[in-house]
Each structure stands twice: as structure tokens, then as C-alpha cells.
């Protein structure tokens, strides 16, 4: 992009061509007043405050809608302008109820600021009150409150809902003095297409759209904003925790435009789902179980018990009788310390975490194909991709801020979306081609796309020739997957397979986005390999805006993997069974290390049941809800000689523990999370922990020291320095470089700028490798006894096992209970109506759950959320494992349903 120069208030400034005069001014420190403007929105030009004088042009111009031109001479603050602004503000105030003393926006209100700056006469015009003829659409919403008497009709909220969020929930009704913000037909907000993201609240320049739970909790002047990284999904949104230090309380969450990756946008969980931090149910002191009951204990007593139990189990049964679960919720520093403790102190590689349950097949699959198991591109590139192929990702619900990025890309008209998903998810409305394929038939679908590409000569011969190997294997393997044959397997039309293949192959750049619909299968690795094949076949990897992009689930699942909280690798994916790696870490950690790779999550459970594993140390994981086949998990955990759980709540898993240790939440500690685009971002302490809760890494260091192994760090930053010294991909990452927007690994040294997209000239493994992948049906198919296919997943409002989200008032209000989605045809057959409770049975268990009747699922297929302990999906799921990644098949099993 070219820059141009113009003069603003006598100063020559430079700005990117195409930007407005207002952008040019703001970027160069000239504060032109503006109320309807937001950098994320198209200009509205309605508030009339950004008026400026442009030499040679008559009258005053709205600088927000005026494109800056070379040589323009602009004055922003003449007498005439000031007079005009003053009058405009006085008119605005005639419509705005001035109650600053009781307003939550006091101190963070543009109208207030400008009224002061131009010293307006608040009583110049008589007050106008709209005749409110309709009930307020936010009356029953627990998070968002609209006050029409404070509204200045700037349209920011309506436009962000439409242009950025894409929810189109709100609009303006009527005209002139009667204008109000409302929903279509003025229905209750909850009955509209509102996604409760609260963007309308975030963007309101006055106090008209407010964060309801924060009302009366604190005035802006008493709040401190602490910039940190969101603790929910892998997008890694930068949020500001607005805290009241005096009362050690989180008041609300805000976010500022201009900061990647989220540009001020948040989802409902990020903005309204953080009140779990102050929940009275937080663990505040260690607990020891005696005669089946927990009692309070001191840290000294609890740690002594942990140390003596772990030491004696290790002495009696050997190090491999111990295991630990680290956590994708905790920081890189916590994970690093946990895996170092497990390897150097417990003496085993039996460490794993819930990445096993979400993206283990990504890590193994992409490592085999490309040499690195991470998202190849950056989030910002999604917006610019000419073609996006989303498969097995309900992005708008599970990675909401990436979801809205896809929506924006498509709605801008510059991006074509191909979607394949067994459920008719929200993105299906934006997709040019939507294929509702049957769960577990991904390989057949992708192979058929490749069949079309090869038979029509659309492959990228040069890329295949120069950048890859073993192409012939794939060419042969997909020969028999004609679109007609795959159509039969997948339940989609051959025509749509052909069209998708052509669109994908012909694109100048195409990005594949996938998530757990691909990975959570017994063929998860195969699924990932076939997507990698597809990308390499068309040269759609290793360049900007094109690649293979797994969206990681947890906030720090990428980081937990990077830190080596996995049974087969040290930090930075250095193999534990490689003698050089073993020698390197033995020297660095001053300990004997095992060269034998450890067990994975589900294998640890099996080993516990078989009494091969005797003791487990769990940090921040809840396998009693998250793992497949729960009845077995319970048997495994209760069979242990010793279980210690370190968490922020007494989870279903913690209830089974012998010792429970209270940990700090993300808001109470310093550290880093690595988001799905490999960006290492800071987590900053905003609050003091409740009671005696302590940071995970400090507790683990204490246990290590008490077990006779010296491990001390001054602070989290010192841990990151050690990580940098041992993991080459983190080599240049230190806290002093993370003050701005974070760094994307690989970042090899202090001067390395980080890596926007991977495999640019060369794959991490050298050449990209094609794999022959054949279609294998799901392990358990519907039959007469269990006639339905069950698929499981998340919903927008809840997270994982609900430990945090179900303790959030807003999220609980929006979605208080679990449900099973079934097609109207099946509902008629079963004789069930909306909300009716169904009994769902599989070969492994049964649950009762209310029905939600929807055409999202096709007849014969049902969908269940897994957040709710009252009706846990994993009582039904099958622990069939992918042979390489050991990820369970959460996404397909057979069930029967009874009304």
C-alpha cells in the first residue's frame, strides 16, 4: 500500500492511501472529536462532530467519510468548527439524559468528554424524550441493557452487530425524535438472532448500552484495566480485565480495537463469562480426604502428604507407576514446570493433557506431512483468503472471533466459503457450497475432491514436483474415489463434491480450517493427512492466505503441547526417545531422564484400572467429564492408590482425589498462553488469589524441592527464559519482547521477528510428504439396537466441562441445561416435543436429556453437548482410539433413543 502526505493543522503527516482524513488525524495524534466513528465500521457520517475545514472546499466536511488526498490542507479546530461542534453537542445533549453521577459510563463517555472540551450549555435546547411506545427489548436480558434516554443514535451498536459480528440482531426503529434501537418486531433480545457477544456494549460511546452485571460495581475512575489473554478458546483474544483493586474484584471485561488477534471483538464468554473468578465456590485452601470426607489442611500438611505418597509409590512400584495430567488451561510456565517435574522428579514420561482429546491427531498428522503440527497461517490471513474450506469446525460457536472473521470475509464478497459439516451450523448460511456429510466420512469426501482435481488436471504440478514426495501413492489411492462413489458414502451430492474441488483447486490461495470434527475420530490422523494431501496437491500451503489451519480448542493447548506436556516429546517437540535430546535435557535439568515414551491420557486410565499406574497428579483437568466412556474413567480413578488434583474448583475429578490443592486462575497470575496461530501472548496478574490459593508452578516447585530436587524460579519470566534456552522454536521469546502483540513461533533468537506462516520455502520436515489414506468407517455404526449416530460437541455459551462457564451468571442464564438435537422427522417418530426428556443409551451407558428439535441435524443423526454433568455425553461415547494419535472417537457412536 502506498502512503500519501497531507497537512493537518500545519503539520505534514503521512497515511496509507485510501484512509480517511479522520484516520490520518487520529493516527498522527490529532484528536478530532467523533462519536459515530469506530475503526472497525464503515463511516456513518451522522454525528457531525468530526467536521473539518479542507482548503479550497466549501463548507465543513465530515472527516470520517472524506478520503485523504495527496497535498490536502486540513484544519481541525477553527473558530467556526468549534462553534459548530458546540451546537451539535448541545443538540445531542437535548436528547441525552444527563445523569453522569449515577452512570456507569462516567469517565468513559465521549459525549461527556466533548461536552467538557467545548464547554457546552447543557440547557440550551429543550429536552426531547422519545415517546417509548414499545417495551424495552433488553428488559429480560441478563448481560445487555439498553437505555433509550441516554442513546445518541450514533448507530455504532447496530453497525457492529451487522458489519462485524454479522448477527444482525438489532436495528433502529422509526425516525427523527422517535428513533430507538431495537430488534426486529421489538422482540425480546434473547428471541432475536443476538449472540450475546456484547459488541454493542463495547462500542457504545455513551452509557446507553451497558454491561448489566457490572452496573453499580464500580466507577471508571476506581477501576484499573489489566491487559491479558482470554482463558477460553484458542483464539487468544486480548482482553482488559477492569478490576477494582480496593475490593479485589473483577468488575467487567473490555477490549480495545487495533490489537491483534481480536481487534476489540469478543464473544459472550470473553465479555460476560469471567465471573467464575470471584465465585464463592473457588477453592481457597488445601483439602485432605479422610474417611471419605474432605477436611481443610495447611499447605505444609497437604504437601507433606503428597510428597510422602508420591515418593513411596515411586519407591515401591517404580517411576512408571506414576503419571501426571498437565493442563491446556494453565500457562506455558506452569506446563513447563509440570513436565520438568514429571520427567526429572517422578522419573517418567507419563505426562499428557487434554490435547490428546482434541488435536492429538493434528499434532501427529501434520507432523508426518509437513513436519510441524500447528496452524500454518495467521488469524489475520483468514480475512484475505479468496477461498476458505471449513470442515468439521463449528467456528462461530467454538472459535467465535475467528468465526466472525470468516463471516466478514464471505460477506465482503471477496471470499468463497466451502463448508462440510454433519450439522447445518450457522456458517452454512454463508457457504457457497454446503455439504452435510455423515459423521466420520471425511476421508471419502476429501479423497473424492482429490479425485476430481487430478482427473480434471487441476493439480499444481510444479509444487508437487519441487516441494513434495510420494505423490504417486495418493494418485493411486484416490483413483477409486469417484464423486459418485463418495457421494454414496457421505450422503452428499456428487455435483457439490465436484464444484468444491474445482473452486478449491482453482483459487489463487485457499485456506483449510478444521477442528474437532476432523480430529476426534478413530481415523483422526487419517483425516488430517488427507487434508494435508489436498493442500499439497493444489500448492495451497506454504504461502500467505493458504494453508492447513487446525483451530486449537483450549486457550493454551498449543502452548501445553509446545512445552512438552506430552508423553513423547520434550519442550519444542524434541523426541524423548532420541538419545541426543535425552542427553541435552539431562544436562539442563541435572537429572536422569527416561528414554521410554510415556502413556497417553486414555492409556493412563486403562493402566490405572489394571493397577499398573498407582498415583496420578492432575493439574487443571477434569477427566471425569472430558474423557470418553466415563464409567471406566471413574473405575480407573477410584482404583488408584493416590490421586492429587490441583484446580480452581472442586471438579467432578477433584471429588475423587485424596488431596486437593487450590490453584490460581488466569486472572491471578503472570505467564504466557500460546494461541492457535502460534502467538505467545502475555497473561497478567489482575487480582490477588482467593484464600491461600497459589500459582500452579510454585506449588509444583515446592513438591519437587520437598522430594529432594532443586527447582526454583524467581518469577514466571525466569521460566520463560529457561524455555527459550531449551526449545529452539521459542528461542527468541522473552517477556521484554511480549509487551506489544506477542510473537509467533518459530522465533529462533532475540532478533527473529516471529513467523506469520509456516513452510514458506521449505517444509519443516524438508519435503511435504503425501500419504495414502483409505476410507475406514467409524468404529461403531448404527444398527437395529442402536439406530442413531451420535455426534458430540460444544456450544457457544459453554466451555468444556462447564467448570467455569456454569459458574457464570450470564452464561448459565443463556443456556442453563444440556440438550440433544434431533431432526423433526425423528421427533415425530419418537413422539417427543421440544424440551421433552429423552433417554439416550449406548453400549456403555445411558443418560436423560431434554430434546431440542432442529433441522440442524439430519434424520438418524443426533447431537449432544458435553458440558453438563447432569447428562454427560461421555457416558455414551466410545473409547475407540486413533492408532497413532490415541485420540478417542468422540464424534461418532451408535445410540438408541427412548421417549
Amino acid at each position: 500500500m502506498k502512503n500519501i502526505e497531507l497537512t493537518i493543522d500545519g503539520k505534514i503527516v503521512s497515511v496509507e492511501q485510501g484512509k480517511s482524513v479522520l484516520d490520518a488525524a487520529l493516527e498522527n495524534g490529532v484528536d478530532i472529536p467523533h462519536i459515530c466513528y469506530d475503526p472497525r465500521l464503515t463511516p456513518t457520517g451522522s454525528c457531525r462532530l468530526c467536521l473539518v475545514e479542507i482548503e479550497g472546499q466549501r463548507g465543513l466536511q465530515t472527516s470520517c467519510s472524506r478520503i485523504a488526498e495527496e497535498g490536502m490542507v486540513v484544519s481541525t479546530e477553527t473558530k467556526e468548527i468549534a462553534k459548530s461542534r458546540k451546537s451539535t453537542l448541545e443538540l445531542m445533549i437535548s436528547e441525552h439524559r444527563m445523569v453522569c453521577a449515577t452512570c456507569d459510563a462516567d469517565g468513559d463517555c465521549l459525549l461527556q468528554d466533548y461536552a467538557y472540551r467545548y464547554h457546552v450549555n447543557e440547557d440550551r435546547f429543550p429536552k426531547i424524550k422519545p415517546k417509548v411506545k414499545v417495551p424495552n427489548f433488553t428488559n429480560y436480558h441478563k448481560a445487555i441493557q439498553y437505555d433509550p434516554t441516554k442513546c445518541v443514535r450514533c448507530m455504532r451498536c447496530v453497525k457492529i452487530c451487522e458489519e462485524v459480528q454479522g448477527a444482525n440482531a438489532i436495528t433502529l426503529r422509526e425516525r427523527a425524535g422517535q428513533v430507538l434501537v431495537t430488534t426486529a418486531f421489538n422482540t425480546d433480545l434473547r428471541d432475536s438472532s443476538c449472540e450475546s457477544c456484547g459488541q454493542c456494549v463495547g462500542v457504545c460511546p455513551v452509557g446507553a448500552m451497558t454491561n448489566k452485571p457490572a452496573v453499580k460495581l464500580g466507577k471508571v475512575k476506581d477501576l484499573e484495566k489489566v491487559l491479558t489473554t482470554c482463558v477460553y478458546c484458542g483464539v487468544g483474544c486480548q482482553l482488559e480485565l477492569n478490576v477494582d483493586r480496593k475490593n479485589n474484584r473483577l468488575v467487567k471485561v473490555t477490549s480495545t480495537p487495533g490489537i491483534i488477534p481480536n481487534d476489540g471483538n469478543t464473544c459472550v464468554k470473553g465479555r460476560f463469562g469471567m465471573d467464575f473468578i470471584g465465585s464463592p465456590e473457588r477453592l481457597t485452601h488445601p483439602l485432605i480426604k479422610e474417611n471419605g470426607e474432605f477436611r481443610k489442611a495447611s499447605w505444609d500438611e497437604a504437601l507433606s502428604l503428597v510428597v510422602s505418597k508420591l515418593s513411596s509409590l515411586k519407591a515401591e512400584f517404580g517411576p512408571d507407576a506414576l503419571a501426571s495430567f498437565s493442563s491446556a488451561k494453565t500457562t506455558n510456565e506452569d506446563n513447563y514446570v509440570m513436565q520438568r517435574f514429571t520427567r526429572a522428579v517422578l522419573g517418567t514420561n507419563n505426562i499428557d493433557h487434554c490435547a490428546r482429546l482434541c488435536h492429538a491427531s493434528t499434532v501427529t498428522g501434520l507432523a508426518k506431512s509437513f513436519g510441524s503440527g500447528a496452524m500454518t497461517n495467521s488469524i489475520a490471513e483468514i480475512r484475505k483468503a479468496p477461498v476458505i474450506f471449513v470442515i468439521g469446525s463449528n467456528t462461530t460457536e467454538n472459535h467465535p472471533v475467528i468465526g466472525i472473521t470468516i463471516r466478514q470475509a464471505v460477506r465482503s464478497g471477496d471470499t468463497q466459503l466451502i463448508l462440510a459439516d454433519p450439522r447445518k451450523i450457522s456458517l452454512s448460511g454463508d457457504a457457497g457450497i454446503y455439504m452435510q456429510h455423515k459423521p466420520g466420512t471425511d476421508v471419502a469426501l476429501v479423497n473424492a475432491m482429490m479425485n476430481v482435481i487430478i482427473s480434471e488436471g487441476l493439480e499444481d504440478k510444479e509444487f508437487i514436483e519441487t516441494r513434495t514426495e510420494d505423490y504417486d501413492l495418493v494418485r493411486k489411492a484416490v483413483e477409486r474415489f469417484t464423486p459418485e462413489m463418495a457421494a454414496g458414502i457421505c450422503g452428499v451430492s456428487a455435483k457439490s463434491i465436484r464444484e468444491s474441488a474445482r473452486i478449491y483447486a482453482k483459487a489463487s490461495a485457499a485456506s483449510i480450517i478444521y477442528s474437532m470434527g476432523i480430529t476426534q475420530h478413530a481415523t483422526g490422523t487419517d483425516n488430517v493427512l488427507s487434508l494435508a494431501n489436498l493442500a499439497m496437491l493444489t500448492g495451497n500451503v506454504g504461502k500467505e492466505n493458504a494453508g492447513v489451519n487446525p483451530l486449537r480448542g483450549q486457550n493454551n493447548v498449543q502452548g501445553a503441547c509446545d512445552m512438552g506436556a506430552l508423553p513423547d516429546v520434550y519442550p519444542g517437540y524434541q523426541k524423548v526417545d532420541l538419545p541426543e535430546a535425552q542427553a541435552k535435557f539431562q544436562k539442563a535439568w541435572n537429572a536422569e531422564l527416561s528414554i521410554k515414551p510415556g502413556l497417553t491420557v486414555v492409556e493412563i486410565m486403562h493402566a490405572a484400572e489394571a493397577k499398573e499406574i498407582r498415583g496420578i497428579y492432575i493439574v487443571g483437568e477434569n477427566p471425569m467429564l472430558s474423557d470418553p466412556d466415563l464409567n471406566h474413567v471413574r473405575q480407573a480413578l477410584t482404583a488408584l492408590d493416590f490421586l492429587v488434583v490441583q484446580d480452581i474448583f472442586l471438579t467432578e475429578t477433584a471429588e475423587l482425589a485424596d488431596v486437593v490443592l487450590p490453584a490460581t486462575s488466569f486472572a491471578e497470575k503472570d505467564g504466557t498462553f500460546t494461541n492457535t496461530e502460534r502467538r505467545v501472548q502475555r497473561v497478567r496478574k489482575a487480582l490477588d488469589p482467593p484464600g491461600e490459593a497459589r500459582e500452579d508452578w510454585r506449588v509444583i516447585c515446592d513438591v519437587a524441592n520437598r522430594m529432594g530436587y532443586e527447582m526454583d524460579f524467581e518469577d514466571a519470566s525466569a521460566i520463560q527464559d529457561e524455555i527459550a534456552s531449551l526449545a529452539p522454536i521459542y528461542g527468541g521469546i522473552t517477556y521484554d519482547r511480549l509487551t506489544g502483540v506477542g510473537l509467533q513461533w518459530p522465533c529462533h533468537d532475540k532478533n527473529h521477528p516471529g513467523t506469520k506462516f509456516l513452510h514458506s520455502k521449505k517444509f519443516s520436515r524438508g519435503k511435504g510428504k503425501f500419504y495414502q489414506v483409505d476410507y475406514i468407517p467409524p468404529q461403531e455404526l448404527p444398527d437395529e439396537e442402536y439406530p442413531f449416530i451420535l455426534t458430540t460437541g460444544r456450544m457457544l455459551e459453554h466451555w468444556h466441562t462447564g467448570t467455569m462457564t456454569r459458574r457464570s451468571k450470564v452464561l448459565d442464564y443463556l443456556e442453563p441445561e444440556g440438550f440433544i438435537e434431533l431432526n423433526p422427522e425423528d421427533a415425530v417418530k419418537l413422539g417427543v416435543s421440544e424440551g421433552g426428556v429423552l433417554k439416550v443409551k449406548s453400549r456403555r451407558g445411558e443418560i436423560d436429556v431434554p430434546a431440542r428439535i432442529t433441522e440442524k441435524v439430519f434424520p438418524g443423526c443426533v447431537f449432544l453437548t458435553f458440558h453438563f454433568k447432569e447428562n454427560p455425553a461421555n457416558a455414551l461415547t466410545i473409547a475407540a482410539l486413533d492408532p497413532i494419535a490415541k485420540i478417542p472417537e468422540f464424534k461418532a457412536c451408535a445410540v438408541s433413543i427412548h421417549a
Binding site: 426503529r173 432475536s192 471477496d414 448460511g429
Partner: protein, 174 residues
Amino acid sequence: MKSGTVKEDPGVNLARGILEKHQLMLEKPAVGRDLEKSQELLIPLLQDIQDAYGYLPPPVLEWVSKKTGIPISRMYGVITFYSQFYLEPKGKHTIRCCQGTACHVKGSQAIGEAIEEYLGVKDGDTTDDMQFTFESVQCLGTCFLAPVIMIDNDYYGEMTQGKVKKVLERYSKS
């Protein structure tokens, strides 16, 4: 059509025809630039729907929104902005009484009161028999006829309270 009845809601069949006329009966809802083009047709589309149904039935609008991709919130915003659109059933005949400056000077207020008295309804309301909807408007643009009323698409100028009754009687019979 008999007096005292409105057109029965014929479902979405009429709307389907209107979408076809505007080439908006698409295979799937539009997105991106296609949607922008569809949205440019929103006002004529709403006018045609209102002509066909007598008003804008919300269920029909919901259906049109699903078919075209035009957000229902956008439709509602446009509908409530323009006074020509109605979300509730209207009388068979619409009486507009001008209250512009010229008509005001010539006593339009009394004309309005006469209409209200004759119909037994207030400004903005519809008679129980669904024969008339009455509304005051700011200007009908025919000041030379002041005071003026308009019934459906016909103007009646130089009104008096007596003339009003006569004109309305004619419409009551039809």
C-alpha cells in the same frame, strides 16, 4: 370483496410470486455483494408485498428474510422508518387527512375531527369492521385543494365537514 372483511392470509404464495418478479427466488439466500444487490430492492419488494397482502404480515417477512438473506432486523428498520408501511392489517380504505400549513389555515383540524366522529376511531386507528384506517399526514402536496383528504389513491379537495360525510358514505357502501 365483501365489506367488513380483509383478504385472508394466503400464506407465502403471493410472496413467492413477488420474489420471482424481482428475481429474488434464489436457490439459497444471498451473501456478500449479491445480498447488497437484493437489499437495494427492499423498498419495492415491501411495497409489492403490502399491495398483495394489504399490510406486511410478520410471518411472510420472516419467510422472505430466510429466502433472500435480507436480515429481518434490516426490514423492520426500513418498515418503521417509512410511514407508508404497515405491520398490522389495515382497513380496506385508507383515509389521509392533510394537516399541512395551507390545510391547517383552511381548517383541516375540523375536517379531521369530523372524520374521527363519523368513523368512531382516533388518528392512526382502523375501524372494527376493517373498512377504514384513518391517519393525519403532514402534507399531501396539493395545497391548492386545501383542505384536502385522500382516500386510497384519490384526492378530495376543498373539504367541509358535510362533504366529508358524503364522501365517506360512498366508500362505506363499497
